[in-house]
């Protein structure tokens, strides 16, 4: 194994280390910045509850501290790190073709997009481009992965609100998608398929009928999903007007993806900074207006429809050619740095690679969209009820794997 590098500690930022003799509050509950206070001199305490890390509806091991006044949230703070696996540090001691297996595992619900961003970054460093056929296959697998991820989001969103049925119905369709992914890439989740230079293997002949069958059958399932949750008055009463994140707040927190588009900002990496074959595809980017949970929900449902359209177009239009460019077995990109981003189901997923000319990177940093999407709960949750907390966190579509890396 190549030896590990050690880096010297950066200098402390001013203000981060308390000065000599400063009074540090030691009785505060870990995480919350204020001690819960009573109301109007009555001894009514505010409750501090832990939502998570073991909880049926935080999407992964998420730990949110809530200060509650009865049912109403006064303050909220997320305590992260329960799923930290040191992916970025591990990447410094892996060779470039091995890192694909690492980035797969960060955002496990959309592995193709993470691999794609990484492949684009390495290709930028190497100064090569994947052949057109590889780009179309990447987009096809990417849109299938987007559908799978959005279906998972839909099912868990329904489950958070109490409806058990939609979860299992969406899993039925997700199984069809995972079968397609397994037929093409070999695995249902950790694909190791999109490589710097192209894709690992060409599409097998049995994949096309499976994809066609799915494309034919999915619109009916989608209309059922709309009947189950979108048209449901209980859901409408519960999510309209809740958790409003306006465009300014969203941009200030660095949100991207469905959350930002729900607020009305038309930023989609596929149209703003096109990559792959997206310029040749015909699709629209759905936008919300107000930025409440309903808008984010409808944006993602619309995105599923658009993804389905794109899968149909991609399947028809795959060009002939090679599925992989000529790259050496052991990649040694010249020294430099590159940042490449893709539109993952959660938002702008970016990989920043710094190469020093050897066969392992000097630094790999993942810009995970869910982390920025989650950071807004500090601002949005105060004032809601506990039931809204669950619904809002569900509408942000987070995956703890990429938040904690």
């Amino acid at each position: 194994m190549p030896e590990r590098r050690s880096h010297s500690m950066p200098e402390a930022l001013p203000g981060s280390i308390p000065a000599e003799g400063a009074v540090v509050a030691s009785r505060l509950p870990v995480g919350l910045r204020r001690v819960p206070r009573g109301v109007d001199e009555l001894a009514t305490e505010h409750l501090v509850v832990n939502m998570g890390p073991q909880h049926p509806s935080t999407h992964g091991v998420l730990h949110i501290l809530l200060e509650l006044d009865g049912e109403e949230v006064i303050a909220a703070e997320a305590s992260l790190g329960y799923l930290h696996r040191g992916i970025e540090k591990l990447a410094e001691s892996r060779r470039y073709n091995q890192i694909t297996t690492l980035v797969d595992r960060a955002d496990y619900a959309s592995g193709i997009h993470s691999e794609w961003a990484y492949a684009l970054a390495v290709e930028e460093l190497l100064g090569i481009e994947a052949p057109p056929k590889a780009q179309w296959i990447r987009a096809l697998m990417g849109e299938i992965n987007r559908l799978a991820s959005h279906l998972l989001w839909y099912g868990t969103f329904g489950l958070d609100s109490g409806a058990m049925g939609p979860f299992l119905y969406c899993m039925r369709d997700r199984e069809a998608l995972l079968d397609i992914l397994e037929t093409v890439t070999g695995q249902r989740m950790m694909f190791n398929y999109v490589r710097p230079g192209g894709v690992a293997m060409d599409l097998p002949p049995e994949a096309e009928p499976m994809i066609r069958k799915f494309v034919a059958g999915f619109p009916r399932a989608l209309s059922e999903f709309h009947d189950l949750i979108t048209g449901n008055e209980i859901i409408q009463a519960r999510i309209k007007g809740i958790g409003t994140i306006d465009a300014q707040t969203a941009l200030a927190f660095g949100m991207t993806g469905g959350c930002l588009r729900g607020a009305g900002v038309p930023w989609d990496v596929r149209t703003a900074k096109p990559y792959g074959p997206y310029q040749q595809l015909d699709f629209s980017v759905p936008l919300g207006t107000v930025g409440d949970t309903w808008d984010r929900y409808m944006v993602r449902m619309e995105e599923m429809e658009q993804s389905l359209r794109m899968v149909g177009q991609l399947l028809e239009g795959i060009p002939e050619g090679e599925h992989m460019a000529k790259v050496p077995k052991v990649l040694r990109p010249p020294a430099g740095e590159a940042y490449a981003c893709v539109e993952s189901p959660r938002g702008e997923l970016g990989i920043h690679l710094v190469s020093d000319g050897s066969d392992t990177p000097a630094r790999m940093r993942m810009r995970s969209p869910a982390l920025y999407n989650l950071s807004v709960i500090d601002e949005v949750l105060p004032g809601c009820l506990i039931a809204d907390v669950v619904v809002i966190v569900g509408s942000l579509d987070i995956v703890l794997g990429e938040i904690d890396r």
């Binding site: 194994m1 892996r94 073709n97 091995q98 297996t101 690492l102 049925g165 119905y169 039925r172 199984e175 079968d179 397994e182 037929t183 093409v184 890439t185 070999g186 695995q187 950790m190 190791n192 690992a200 293997m201 060409d202 097998p204 049995e206 059922e224 009947d227 189950l228 949750i229 048209g231 449901n232 008055e233 209980i234 409408q236 992989m324 000529k326 790259v327 050496p328 077995k329």
Partner: protein, 159 residues
């Protein structure tokens, strides 16, 4: 408070799904077939005469991101190699397939056996080859060095 139609429509969807029937595959009585490219535990491949194709080049050992392959070789005076042990820590394997892609001699492949769960720690490490002579490296080499061979292609010879 016109709570009504949407809820009833949703319940109609549920009823339709009730009538459509379950989609359960009752494992272990029924099993789904795996696609050809499914990657599970690594298995050794044999050539037509039943000997291993492994030349102990250790490409796979170096390709593995977690370093779970262990190839112990003794080189005799006439430069032929004898594989003492080729151990594979199946308990740590993430089935990424990089070892199989790196092998230039088609000596290993990703098998399709996924029922690997065991309560015996000893069985977390599997011996792929032990105490055999390595094949000669001077036989025909498939594919050029530039592109990694695709693990999905049909392996020559018997699995």
């Amino acid at each position: 408070m016109a709570y009504g139609l949407g809820l009833l429509k949703g319940m109609g969807v549920a009823f339709r799904n009730l009538v459509r029937g379950p989609i359960t595959v009752q494992y272990p009585d029924e099993r789904l077939a795996l696609p050809q490219r499914a990657r599970w535990a690594v298995i050794p491949l044999w050539d037509g005469s039943g000997a291993t194709r492994c030349t102990a080049c250790t490409n796979c050992v170096r390709a593995c991101p977690d370093g779970i392959l262990d190839l112990r070789v003794t080189t005799r005076e006439d430069k032929t190699k004898h594989i003492d042990a080729f151990d594979y820590e199946i308990g740590a394997c993430m089935m990424c397939g990089l070892c199989v892609e790196a092998c230039p001699f088609d000596a290993i492949a990703m098998g399709q056996d996924y029922e690997l769960a065991t309560s015996d720690v000893e069985r977390m490490t599997v011996s792929l080859l032990s105490d055999v002579d390595a094949a000669s490296a001077r036989r025909e080499k498939p594919a050029s060095e530039a592109v990694a061979p695709a693990p999905g292609d049909a392996p020559a010879g018997e699995a």
